[in-house]
């Protein structure tokens, strides 16, 4: 029995020839799919990129940090320090707390600071900061030379100081061999160490740090800028600690503190992606539907225009299924090409946006790899009705024209 055949490479070639008959129309038809697939890739890529950026910033350091600000009594002129003297001890009793301590800028107006009696700093007055030893520990300092102060120095109200590396350079103190001192309004403080970095309070690099007890003795409680407490927690404990710390400090007046814990990274990420994603993905979906309608329309017009060609192919031995296969292939190819161009455009947008923000572009493979296929599926579905119409063309009618 004789059988008609339509080999795959021939289907591809005939479909391509059909599309190339009207190249401009084919390109315009692709646009809707290009836009839809491009938006999908761009939105998913940008979300992943932004999410990656949050992950990067949101290090373990931030996840284990709680800060407590002394906000006093609102509407009152009472400027007394809200933190009790044994604030560190009270907070460190809370489960999950590693270190907790107060710090504040020492209330001195234009003090004279020098590395030797009579010699002043080259670059203005460095800020002088009072810190509990445990606040210093929570700030995670590293030292180029020497070491930090501890409870022993604080307990004895010793006149010791730490220098930030920038302040040390400005004061001309580079070595600790000769037990150098720094003079604040003439009062000498023995320099114990030079701070190289302080992960949680980088501002320390520019300042002079005194034990809180010593500073309190000499210069009194903070005035203009109030004290803060820095708490380091174990991983995962920050939120729980934040809920308890105010009450632990002042059971009588917890409202005198404002407690801040870094937000949960998961919540942060879903907040960034949530609202915008839904909007843009909906728009991308609408573009895809419009793209499908465009392809369906163009293919239908092509079927009507090429009725003659269909009749000829039927006379040459093409079955209705062969005719349908050709038009389906044409519409699918349009969708696939639109999808490919859209994917490239989407990737370009993500890369450009990321580079502009100095971010690392992240493209989830699960979104990028199937994207051209999404275009192809759109084209395939759009081609179903026109292909059916083409298959139903009667050869006698078609050739009569």
């Amino acid at each position: 029995m004789l059988k008609s055949r339509f080999r795959l490479p021939d289907i591809a070639e005939e479909a391509l020839a059909g599309l190339l008959q009207r190249p401009a129309r084919s390109i315009l038809t692709m646009l809707g799919t290009t836009l839809g697939v491009g938006s999908f890739v761009a939105v998913l890529g940008l979300t992943a990129t932004a999410g990656g950026q949050i992950d990067r910033r949101f290090t373990e350091l931030a996840a284990t940090e709680v800060t407590v600000a002394d906000i006093g009594v609102t509407g009152s002129t009472d400027s007394a320090m809200s933190f009790p003297d044994d604030a560190s001890g009270l907070v460190e009793q809370i489960g999950g707390v590693v270190h907790a301590g107060r710090w504040w800028p020492v209330p001195l107006t234009e003090p004279s600071v020098s590395g030797a009696p009579g010699i002043t700093s080259r670059a203005g007055t460095p800020p002088i900061i009072a810190m509990d030893p445990s606040a210093l520990a929570a700030a995670r300092p590293t030292f180029t030379q020497g070491r930090g102060f501890d409870a022993f120095h604080a307990g004895r109200h010793e006149h010791v100081a730490l220098l930030g590396s920038v302040a040390a350079a400005n004061l001309g103190i580079t070595r600790l061999d000769g037990n150098p001192a720094v003079f604040v309004d003439g009062t000498p403080f023995t320099v114990l160490g030079i701070i190289d970095d302080a992960a949680r309070l980088p501002d320390l690099l520019f300042g002079i740090v005194l034990p809180a007890a010593t500073a309190y003795d000499l210069y009194g409680p903070p005035t203009a800028q109030r004290a803060e407490m820095l708490v380091e927690t174990r991983l995962g404990a920050a939120a729980v600690v934040a809920g308890q710390v105010a009450l632990a400090l002042r059971p009588d007046a917890p409202q005198r503190f404002q407690v801040t814990a870094a937000p949960d990274p998961k919540a942060l990420r879903s907040r960034v992606s949530g609202d915008l994603d839904v909007l843009f993905l909906t728009l991308a979906g609408i573009s895809l539907v419009i793209g499908a309608i465009g392809i369906a329309n163009t293919t239908l017009v092509a079927v009507l225009e090429r009725t003659n060609e269909i009749g000829l192919r039927r006379a040459l031995g093409a079955r209705p299924a062969h005719i349908a296969a050709q038009f389906l292939t044409e519409s699918t190819t349009l969708g696939l090409l639109g999808g490919l161009v859209g994917t490239s455009a989407g990737i370009t947008v993500v890369v450009i946006a990321a580079v502009a923000q100095d971010w690392t572009p992240l493209l989830p493979t699960w979104a990028v790899l199937p994207a051209p296929a999404v275009g192809a599926v759109v084209g395939l579905l759009a081609g179903v009705y026109p292909a059916q119409r083409a298959a139903r063309v009667e050869p006698v009618e078609a050739l009569r024209r």
Partner: protein
């Protein structure tokens, strides 16, 4: 081939209308292998309808049609389609060439649905074009060809697969006398090589080229 290529017994075709048009009535005809038959008749007499029935493009509404010994009413649509594609060659009055595609590509479409690989099709198509004297225009797009050249491309496509039967509808209708003469001598040459020909025409000079001529009047063959 032992029997006739075409065997029509009391074949009729009535277009459903409304109103119903009896375009063919009670046609009996046998055409044997190697014959050259011409069909003449006035406009609207049913010549094209007759060609469509013979060429398996349309089904008769009454009577029996045996093509190459097979009663075509008993076979399925897909088999009829294959039979039409492999055993019959069509030269349409309006050529029906694909624009934007070269002459050789157009000719090669004749065996596309027989599953012949492209290379072989193109090689055979080049030969067929040489046969009709158009080798030098093989690469030209068909919309750049003259009427006579197009007609010869159409003939090359119709003979590519060596059909049992070549059907031509007004093959010289659009041609000047020189071109018509060369197309007619090509047809005679094909017939001399053994191909069975059925040519529809309203031109007496063309009709006289065949071995036998039949006339259709109001759907009746005489």
């Amino acid at each position: 081939m032992s029997g006739p290529v075409i065997g029509l017994t009391a074949v009729g075709l009535t277009y459903p209308g409304p109103p119903p048009v009896p375009a063919l009535r009670d046609v009996d005809l046998e055409v044997w292998p190697g014959e050259y038959v011409t069909v003449v008749g006035p406009s609207g007499s049913g010549k094209s309808t007759f060609l469509n029935v013979v060429g398996l493009l349309d089904r008769p509404t009454s009577g029996t049609y045996r093509f190459d010994g097979v009663d075509v009413a008993t076979i399925r649509e897909n088999e009829r389609t294959a039979l039409r594609g492999r055993r019959i060659g069509f030269v349409f009055q309006a050529f029906h060439l694909m624009p934007y595609r070269s002459a050789v590509e157009n000719v090669s479409l004749a065996t596309l649905y027989a599953g012949v690989p492209k290379k072989e099709r193109l090689a055979a198509a080049a030969q067929a074009l040489e046969r009709v004297g158009l080798a030098h225009r093989a690469g030209a797009l068909t919309n750049t060809l003259s009427g006579g050249e197009r007609q010869r491309v159409a003939i090359a496509r119709a003979i590519l697969h060596r059909p049992s039967l070549l059907l031509c509808d007004e093959p010289t209708g659009n041609l000047d006398s020189d071109n018509a003469a060369s197309v007619l001598s090509l047809l005679t040459e094909l017939n001399t090589d053994g191909m069975t020909l059925m040519v529809i025409t309203h031109d007496g000079a063309v009709a006289s080229r065949g071995q036998r001529s039949v006339t259709i009047r109001d759907g009746v063959l005489c």
